[in-house]
């Protein structure tokens, strides 16, 4: 009898735990090496997903449709004068109201701290505080796309007092005071625990060293955006969504190092890479990259193949001789199971090769050059499907792997943001890409058009497929 009672108690406990796990907390694995809640750094999709939950912005974008978040209204007083009223019902996680001073401080922090995606600050002359809930953005000239750019997930609002501390102490970014639907309850090495402020289920983001998880471990999680390897039958309790969320993997050369200082050496190396072996390895989930930008990104030209003229000229030309070859890779960009293939691709050209992983996405360019490596495998992904986010690497030193710096090119890239008409801007991007191709600084290898999201089929996740996953508000999941 005692045994039976024990068994019953254990069964009840297990059921209770599993029920609790299924319905009370969302369990989401993330790639730990890249999670950063500091908007000034280059945030990957894991960081953006966590930020999305704890931060708010004036405006957000969902499938091209803008909606207000911290803003109550936006009014064009003049083509270059935009009045924004702050939503007085929205609070920071410490309970205080959002003030104009907080918004101005947030914009200033991003402007002062972030090296990439700074085009907004070229357009904004200054921000005026009108009253306790109103600000006016004074533009240098009329920029119709400014609200769209502001809706990208890079302009989070934080409390002014918090930011003042953040200037001095970077570590406090583990407990940011944001104005989103969640607040951080616990930030450890292994997980980030978020608690809802108004509505939604508590969330635990489990931080993995790897950017993939085994199918056998899927039972531990509810929503998975990492690559899943192993037995597909373990996914029967999950709905699989394929979101169009293109990323492109590149190989870049360190133009500050010999023999890659010479253009023709770079061109002959890049033209003789056997990329198809990697495409095969991805087994249909990736395509051979044809253009500098992945298809679906503004500036992509389906009629042109990137470096086609260079390839014609340099294919089968001898590559520079080297004793050792250092191949770096950005950990978050190259899934574990494919790293060997990338290595093999280069090893076929340089048998003596070593690999060097770089985890810090924020400054991978600088680290790569400092390490004096020859080539680097990295990927880029756009948040609002614009080529500028790919070209920005030539402006921002931290992510400029090649070390190539051309003021004319930088100027052209910056000026492209002033072009209002998308078609004209796309044409300008193509012009810039045409100028980049002969430099043989980098070449796109493969395009991964879709991102797979696995959602436990007992969950209701409305509108999860309507936009990028990193822009998804997990507070609506039931």
């Amino acid at each position: 009898m005692a045994k039976i009672l024990k068994i019953l108690i254990i069964i009840c406990c297990v059921l209770n735990v599993s029920t609790y796990a299924d319905t009370k907390t969302l369990r989401i694995p993330l790639h730990s090496s890249a999670v950063s809640l500091d908007p000034a750094s280059a945030q990957d999709i894991s960081s953006l997903l966590v930020s999305r939950q704890i931060n708010c912005q004036l405006i957000r974008n969902q499938e091209g449709v803008l909606f207000f978040e911290a803003a109550q209204s936006v009014k064009y007083l003049a083509p270059f004068k935009i009045q924004v009223q702050i939503d007085q019902s929205r609070h920071f996680s410490d309970g205080s109201l959002i003030t104009p001073e907080d918004i101005v401080a947030s914009f200033n922090y991003i402007k002062n701290s972030r090296s990439s995606l700074r085009n907004v600050f070229q357009w904004i002359k200054h921000i005026d505080i009108v009253d306790k809930k109103t600000i006016v953005l004074m533009l240098k000239k009329p920029i119709p796309q400014i609200l769209t750019v502001l809706s990208a997930p890079n302009y989070s609002i934080f409390k002014k007092s918090f930011l003042e501390k953040a200037y001095k102490k970077q570590s406090i970014w583990s407990q940011p005071i944001g104005c989103g639907n969640y607040k951080i309850a616990d930030y450890t090495k292994n997980y980030i625990h978020l608690l809802p402020i108004n509505h939604g289920l508590p969330i635990v983001f489990y931080l993995n060293d790897s950017n993939q998880i085994k199918a056998d471990d899927m039972y531990k999680y509810d929503i998975v955006s990492l690559q899943v390897v192993g037995n597909a039958s373990k996914l029967k309790n999950f709905n699989t969504l394929e979101l169009f969320d293109p990323s492109q993997i590149y190989i870049g050369l360190n133009s500050t190092k010999s023999p890659w200082k010479k253009n023709e050496n770079r061109c002959s190396f890049l033209s003789n890479l056997n990329v198809m072996s990697i495409v095969k390895e991805y087994a249909g989930s990736a395509q051979l990259a044809r253009h500098f930008l992945p298809s679906g990104i503004l500036g992509y030209d389906p009629k042109k193949i990137f470096m086609s003229d260079i390839d014609k000229k340099y294919t089968n030309r001898p590559i520079p001789k080297m004793k050792n070859f250092c191949l770096a890779y950005l950990v978050g960009s190259v899934p574990e199971q494919f790293r060997e293939k990338y290595l093999t691709m280069v090893r076929n050209m340089y048998p003596v090769i070593q690999m060097f992983p770089i985890a810090q996405a924020k400054s991978f360019g600088t680290i790569f050059r400092r390490r004096d490596c020859d080539a680097i495998i990295f990927s880029f992904k756009s948040n609002y499907f614009d080529g500028y986010e790919y070209l920005d690497q030539f402006i921002s030193n931290d992510i400029n792997a090649s070390g190539f710096k051309n003021l004319v090119l930088i100027s052209d890239i910056k000026k492209s943001q002033d072009i209002i008409d998308p078609e004209a801007r796309s044409n300008e991007y193509q012009e810039i890409i045409n100028k980049i191709a002969p430099l043989c600084l980098m070449r796109p290898l493969i395009t991964v058009p879709n991102r797979k999201i696995y959602v436990r089929n007992t969950l209701k996740a409305p509108k999860i497929g309507e936009g990028s996953f990193n822009e998804y508000d997990l507070g609506v999941v039931q």
Binding site: G64, E242, F244, I297, P302, F385, P422, E466
Partner: protein, 491 residues
């Protein structure tokens, strides 16, 4: 057989017809609505496809995904989902949870030429029906070189059409028109068919007042030819029936009179014979006894005449012919039966004095003092007839024995002769009034039987052919007479 009134049939038919029409109208309206919406949906879908294609092509040609997705999202309303599969196989869809469905509807291996085949067609996926449309997107701008950019695909689950006001109007107006038509038809049926039929039915059911049918028929108004024909046939039939009825009454009256005359003729034969005989003996013997016999015979003839007169007075032409026995024309009273019997026997002895026949009367002492309640004239007539029958059976010779006794409160009279007798088979006929002496009806036995039975008594015949007959009459004895007074006899 189950019967229903024609009004019920018409009313029920009306209700059934109205319900059927209503259902048919609703079904027709729903069908009309469905087809109407289908046509509108397809038309609007084609328009949206055209318009959206024109908007999407420039954006797709420059890979402006944000705008492409925005346009797809704006177009994807009301259950319709618009998506794009570009030439690279990239899928743009507002709701990526529907991507599996899209792949099931539209095979992911995009074939350039297969798009145009998917125009306004229905595809079944997981038991649901989807309207699928596909438009190839070609960049025909100056720099586009008619390049294929992909395909715009829309799919929407086929749901039952929305209820539209048009459908409601259609159903309502149609129903009202048909209802009015039916009301009009019903009114015609009521006026032209039902009303004349009801009048006709009323007249027929009250056929005793058929002579007033003309008044009722005027209420018919305008009636169909068939009903008029029925009415005329009925009137004709009623006229014939009435004529025949009158004729039958006349015939029956004559029959009654004829029967009466026969009775009279039959009954007066005996007193007339007495009187004839007395007149023949008048010169020889003028004794008191002979006078008495003659007076009795005259009295008998007078009784017959009175009886006849009484009947004549009671039978009016309008009355149904009645049984003669039931209305005997004389007053019933309590009478001492023996005295009446004795008188009749004496009369017969006097009548048959020239013959060799013996008429013996034997009565028990008890029987002599019992009375019966009857008409004396009728009893005398019956006894006379029965004695005559016995006399005729004996052919004027032999012996007739008359016995009277009291038996269990019944006076029992037996008239026994040793004459030719009556064949056994003929006894029922004789009692029914058939004569054995001549062809036609005899009146004596049957009349006697009916009368005796009307008094509560019985008349029965026991006879053997060639040996004789015993006619037995029994009368209920009313009371015992102590005074020996004969009632009902004037003499």
């Amino acid at each position: 057989m189950k019967t229903q009134t024609i009004r019920y049939v018409i009313e029920r038919s009306f209700v059934v017809a109205c319900s059927s029409i209503l259902i048919i109208m609703i079904v027709a309206a729903i069908s009309f609505n469905h087809n109407h919406f289908q046509a509108i949906r397809q038309s609007s879908l084609n328009e949206i496809h055209d318009m959206l294609s024109h908007l999407l092509i420039p954006e797709l040609s420059i890979s402006n995904t944000v705008e492409v997705k925005r346009l797809l999202k704006l177009a994807s309303t009301d259950g319709k989902i618009f998506s794009i599969i570009d030439v690279h196989g990239n899928i743009f869809i507002p709701d990526y949870t529907k991507i599996k469905l899209l792949k099931m509807i539209f095979h992911p291996d995009f074939i350039e030429n297969s798009c145009e085949e998917l125009h306004d067609i229905y595809k079944h996926v997981n038991g649901d029906k989807y309207l699928v449309n596909c438009t190839s997107l070609y960049d025909d701008s100056l720099g586009g070189h008619n390049q294929n950019l992909g395909a715009l695909i829309s799919f929407s689950q086929q749901r039952w059409s929305y209820f539209s006001s048009l459908m409601a109007y259609f159903a309502l107006v149609g129903f009202m028109i048909l209802l009015l038509l039916f009301m009009w038809f019903r009114s015609i049926l009521q006026k032209k068919l039902l009303k004349p039929l009801l009048v006709l039915e009323n007249v027929i059911s009250q056929s005793t007042n058929a002579e007033n049918s003309g008044v009722f028929f005027e209420k018919m108004g305008i009636a169909p030819v068939e009903i008029i024909t029925i009415k005329n046939a009925f009137e004709n039939m009623m006229y014939k029936l009435q004529t025949e009825h009158k004729q039958r009454l006349e015939i029956e009256k004559k029959t009654v009179l004829l029967e009466l005359a026969a009775h009279v003729a039959h009954d007066i034969r005996s007193p007339l014979a007495v009187m004839e005989m007395e007149l023949a003996n008048k010169k020889k013997d003028k004794t008191e006894s002979n006078h008495t016999v003659l007076r009795a015979a005259i009295q008998q003839v007078r009784d017959i005449a009175n009886n006849l007169l009484s009947r004549y007075r009671h039978v009016t032409p309008d009355q149904e012919p009645q049984e003669v026995i039931q209305d005997d024309g004389n007053h019933h009273c309590s009478l001492l039966f023996y005295n009446l019997l004795e008188g009749s026997v004496l009369n017969k002895i006097q009548e048959w004095c020239n013959d060799t026949i013996q008429l013996n009367l034997h009565a028990s002492e008890m029987a002599k003092y019992f009375e019966i309640h009857a008409a004396p004239a009728k009893i005398r007539s019956i006894l006379s007839n029965l004695f005559n029958n016995a006399y005729e059976a004996c052919n004027g010779t032999g012996k007739i024995q008359v016995n009277l006794e009291i038996n269990n409160h019944f006076l029992q009279l037996n008239i026994l002769d040793h004459g030719v007798g009556i064949p056994f088979d003929s006894i029922p006929d004789v009692l029914a009034g058939k004569s054995l002496k001549h062809s036609g009806n005899g009146l004596g036995l049957s009349t006697a039987k009916k009368y005796v039975e009307s008094l509560g008594g019985e008349l029965s015949i026991f006879s053997k052919h060639g040996e004789g007959t015993n006619v037995m009459l029994s009368f209920p004895a009313v009371k015992e007479c102590k005074t020996n007074i004969i009632c009902g006899l004037e003499n």
